[in-house]
């Protein structure tokens, strides 16, 4: 594509100032910069185009080309494989000749390989002070393991809508939000009872943001505690920054950012201070890293973590509602021998059950049926009675959490952070 003779650099810049969301003009501008040898500036423009059209191969190829010219080969290869997985990838694109190896559209796993844990681990090693023995099991790219999208998360439609508006779209289209002077940036803290899908939601957010995903779980935190904790934490942030756009997810955030007012050891305080420094530094240095945290115990997370620019958006992930529970039963029983089941009724009976509790119910029901089959030699499927009995024998694990949080809301003046919880408790007549 060539630049029409009527367009000059000044005119393109002026047009972009008037309408920053015109992809045609931005493309022309990016191409012009590339021709002029301003590769870094061109890269910025192409990256914006990738954000505007994450499913398109063309801007990704251009990003790969810019990175190649800048000598950033691994990132270039990553972008190229990402382009290869797009539906409109054109293998005859002339720009590909400059890039090698060439991915094929019918091999989307190229992307997975490029972003597999091995290079992430290598990146971590290359960072000064980075530990080489950090567990990599939880440090994964969303391309390389189960890709979870919002559509895979059962129910929680209102929550998904809120997250899309307040987290994903500001990340994908920062310009649009800036134009409306809507505050963006900062981290997001997902909190709620255990087993209700916080981690799954975080993975889905990463997928929807089309970003690499680095998850730091409790096992990583245990490793962080040994040796130079602050350097290890810093290395994790540096790794995320080197792989933008990136989502950095801290599961069990309370373990890493434990309230300093409750902590006795100096070590805990120092680590929290470093975490705060990283969060603050990051907002100034890199806008393409989204930090997510999840916790069952938001009251144990240091208050400073919840201040603006850090985890200032706190999202309550409630137990699944009745319809979601019914859908869970339906999905989890796909392919399992069953008699005719009324999923709506199961959803109704399993009040307050989390996704994990429903797994437990199903396991219990299956055990009962299998024991019966082995004893009687008569094969049969799961019946409604089996499931109802299993529900009756199980207790929802969310109740304890809900009772605890009720104390905060009802007697502790929970405030803005717990407003959603209060609404939920009132709706469920638990207040």
């Amino acid at each position: 594509m060539t630049q029409p003779p009527s367009h000059t650099r000044d005119s393109l810049e002026a047009q972009l100032l008037r309408d920053p969301f015109d992809p045609g003009i931005r493309r022309l501008y990016a191409e012009m910069l590339l021709r002029l040898g301003e590769v870094e500036a061109s890269l910025e423009q192409w990256r914006l185009l990738v954000r505007q059209s994450p499913e398109a191969a063309d801007p990704r190829i251009a990003v790969a080309l810019c990175l190649h010219r800048l000598g950033r080969e691994s990132e270039s290869a990553e972008q190229l494989t990402a382009a290869g997985s797009c539906s409109d990838f054109d293998a005859t694109d002339s720009r590909l000749e400059e890039l090698d190896p060439r991915p094929t559209p019918d091999n989307p796993h190229d992307r997975m390989e490029s972003a597999s844990p091995a290079p992430l681990r290598a990146n971590l090693r290359s960072i000064p002070g980075g530990r080489t023995d950090l567990p990599v099991a939880d440090v994964v790219s969303i391309g390389s393991t189960d890709v979870i999208r919002f559509s895979d998360v059962v129910g929680m439609e209102k929550l998904k809508k809120t997250i899309r508006l307040s987290v994903i779209q500001p990340f994908l289209q920062p310009g649009l939000f800036e134009r409306f002077k809507k505050k963006t940036g900062g981290g997001v803290l997902l909190y709620g009872p255990p087993g209700c899908g916080k981690t799954m939601m975080a993975r889905a957010i990463a997928t929807e943001c089309d970003a690499s995903f680095t998850a730091v779980g409790i096992s990583d935190i245990l490793n962080l505690w040994s040796g130079q904790s602050e350097q290890n934490l810093s290395a994790i942030f540096e790794m995320a920054r080197s792989q933008t756009p990136a989502v950095l997810f801290f599961d069990e955030l309370d373990a890493l950012a434990f309230s300093r007012s409750k902590a006795r050891s100096e070590h805990t305080r120092t680590l929290v201070n470093e975490f705060l420094n990283q969060l603050d530094g990051m907002s100034g240095r890199n806008h393409q890293v989204l930090v997510l945290g999840a916790t069952n115990m938001p009251w144990d997370v240091d208050d400073a973590m919840k201040r603006p620019g850090r985890f200032d958006r706190q999202v309550f992930v409630p137990p699944p509602d009745e319809a979601a529970r019914a859908e869970m039963f339906r999905q989890k029983l796909l392919g399992v021998p069953c008699e005719a089941l009324d999923f709506a009724e199961l959803g109704q009976l399993s009040r307050h059950f989390s996704g994990a509790d429903i797994d437990g119910v199903l396991e219990l029901a299956k055990e009962t049926v299998l024991t019966e089959i082995l004893e009687s030699d008569i094969e049969r499927g799961l019946s409604a009675a089996d499931l109802q009995e299993a529900i009756g024998e199980s207790a929802p694990s969310t109740l304890e959490w809900l009772k605890t949080v009720r104390n905060v809301v009802k007697f502790g003046g929970g405030g803005r952070a717990y407003r959603d919880v209060e609404k939920y408790l009132r709706r469920e007549k638990m207040f």
Binding site: S226, F258, W299, G412
Partner: protein, 292 residues
Amino acid sequence: MSTTAESFDSVARLIEIGRLGDAKRLLGQAIAHEPENPRGELLAGHIALLEGNTAAAETYASAALARDPHNLATGELLYEILAQQKRWAEAERIVIELIRAHPTDADLFASYCHLMLCTLHVDKASELSKEALRLDPQNDRARLMGVLVGLVRGDASTQYQVEKLVSEDPESRWVVTLLFTSLVDQKRFEEALRVGQQLLRANPNNTALTEALVELRMQTHWIAAPARPLARWGWFGAAALWVLALVTIRLASALQSTVALWLAGAYLAYCLYTWIYPPLLRRWIRHRGIVP
């Protein structure tokens, strides 16, 4: 691969942040590697104590002491277990033994002071807190005990000490707890309620604190306003009110009997009110919550 010592350190930190399940799992692995290490039993004792299983905690602490009789941390754990079970005499014996072995440890003097406060030996507690503060003027526990002794004795300087602690470390949980206690002691219920709510937000499982907040809310509720003199001055207030009512009614009856009748009725209504409103209001607050 982390060493067993590192694993024990991690267990200690998991205990500190209250993740007892994770701590137990990791401790099991660490003990499997080094079953002879008394630190394993010490940490197991701490976990058991936090889980409320004092019998198991005592068993672990005793086993750890058998392996390493001079270990200070194990001795402190055993003291804590005994104190929690209100076995004061045994706890005192342990803490005295520990002080003999470590005569410059301010924490131990603070622990002994706490024990003396619990058993209402205020003078001895006061001397012990002074000694703890002499040994280490910056020791948190020693300062806490100093203020608590002051509160119990009703020392005028305690308020200044509390303010000093709050200004130095306003976010520390023990300082906030101390402030809460001090405010309640001064009958500054509105402020105590706000501080208490802050504490509850950080420790939502604390049922005793929840109850205390309900009681405080009762004191600050508008319905309780007529009874505030009684809440403020206790039995003295009640006696004064009774005398005042008696004198007023007598005077009124001497002047005009209808007025005296009204006054007597009002006094009876007030008595009835002070008798009826607390349980009703308490139930209402428990049902409704503490609304700002």
